[in-house]
């Protein structure tokens, strides 16, 4: 066990950008690429969630899990917490707002939101997979999607729809 080892954040960023780039270069079929990135994210999410909760008691319900994702988990990944959490009446849909999504910070995006969102979509698949995988490791099954909500600040919204808890 390596303990709290650190690497330069840019190591991850370079790796991640190259990973997404390579996936998209070789696949003509967008669906295949999406599913690869999603699968990779899922696996990483599961592994990270296990590591980050080794010493803690089990979560009492799925709301506790979502709170954990928004606070400790997001902090470990992105050095900050989720800025805003919205949910619907049934507590089956959650929207996590990150006002400045870290993994996009070195990208300069077109001003037009639709164009910027199009550019950025491929970089949001992996983090959605991570969230899905993390939740799955606590027995919460869901669908996760994300979208850019502001091209200047790189604000993103992650939509979680619980399918089984």
């Amino acid at each position: 066990m390596a303990g709290k080892r650190e690497v330069a954040e840019s190591c991850f960023e370079f790796l991640y950008l190259e990973l997404v780039r390579t996936c998209y270069v070789k696949e003509e079929d967008d669906r295949g690429t999406r599913s690869s990135l999603d699968a990779m994210g899922f696996q990483v999410g599961q592994q990270l969630a296990e590591r980050y909760t080794i010493d803690r008691a089990r979560f009492s319900d799925h709301l506790e899990v979502i709170k954990f994702i928004c606070k400790e988990f997001w902090n470990e990944l992105f050095n900050k917490q989720v800025d805003n959490l919205k949910t619907n009446r049934n507590r089956e849909i959650f929207v996590l707002h990150d006002n400045r999504f870290r993994w996009l910070r070195h990208m300069s995006l077109p001003k037009d939101l639709a164009a910027a969102a199009e550019t950025v979509n491929r970089y949001l698949i992996f983090p959605c997979g991570i969230i899905k995988g993390a939740l799955a490791s606590f027995g919460v099954l869901c669908e996760v999607s994300a979208e850019l909500t502001d091209s200047a600040t790189h604000a993103c919204a992650f939509h979680i729809r619980i399918t089984q808890k």
Binding site: V7, E9, E18, L77
Partner: protein, 186 residues
């Protein structure tokens, strides 16, 4: 004495750090996916990893040069030391030792006892010829090409395969001369 060359802990602008797990686990999951995509063709995956490393290296060098006060290395010996002591330290948080030089100073080994990329990794039997960390070799190749050195790099010892240390061979093939933007006789 070269005041701009340090041991890697003193002379660079602060680099933002993260816990290595996200990096290590993403790398691992990527390797797994590459094996699936290439139907377990290990040689193809080795090549792909090195190529991806090259693509990373050509971009990473800019950050390295920007963050350190490194001046142009006078020879390959100095280059190897900078890679081992400053470069690896800055990005991976570990240092290597430079050793096993050949007679004309064009080839050496970087001995890395500790490789963060392989934390928590075990290589199953059927993947023994996988060069798991060959992305690192590609990074060296890409980064050094941007500073006019064509090199080859490969693993000769790998802790994943039971060796005591990681030994990465670095061979200088060619120093590419800068091209002047204008002709002398104009």
């Amino acid at each position: 004495m070269k005041p701009s060359r340090g041991t890697g802990t003193m002379n660079f602008a602060p680099v933002e750090k993260i816990n290595s797990e996200l990096f290590t686990l993403t790398y691992g999951s990527m390797v797994r996916q590459l094996l699936v995509d290439n139907e377990d063709n290990v040689e193809a995956v080795n090549t792909q990893l090195e190529k991806m490393g090259y693509n990373i290296g050509v971009r990473l060098i800019d950050e390295f040069l920007a963050k350190t006060s490194t001046t142009r290395c006078s020879d390959f010996r100095e280059t190897a030391e900078v890679v081992a002591k400053v470069g690896l330290k800055m990005f991976l948080g570990v240092q290597a030792t430079v050793a096993n030089w050949n007679a004309d100073g064009t080839e050496c080994s970087l001995i890395l006892e500790d490789n963060p990329i392989v934390d928590f990794v075990e290589l199953p039997e059927q993947y023994q010829s996988l060069s798991y960390s060959s992305m690192l070799c590609g990074v060296f190749r890409g980064a050094l090409e941007m500073v006019n050195m064509k090199v080859e790099s490969w693993f000769v010892q790998d802790t994943l395969k039971g060796d005591e240390v990681n030994e990465i061979r670095l061979r200088l093939l060619e120093v590419v001369q800068d091209e002047y933007p204008f002709k002398d006789d104009e």
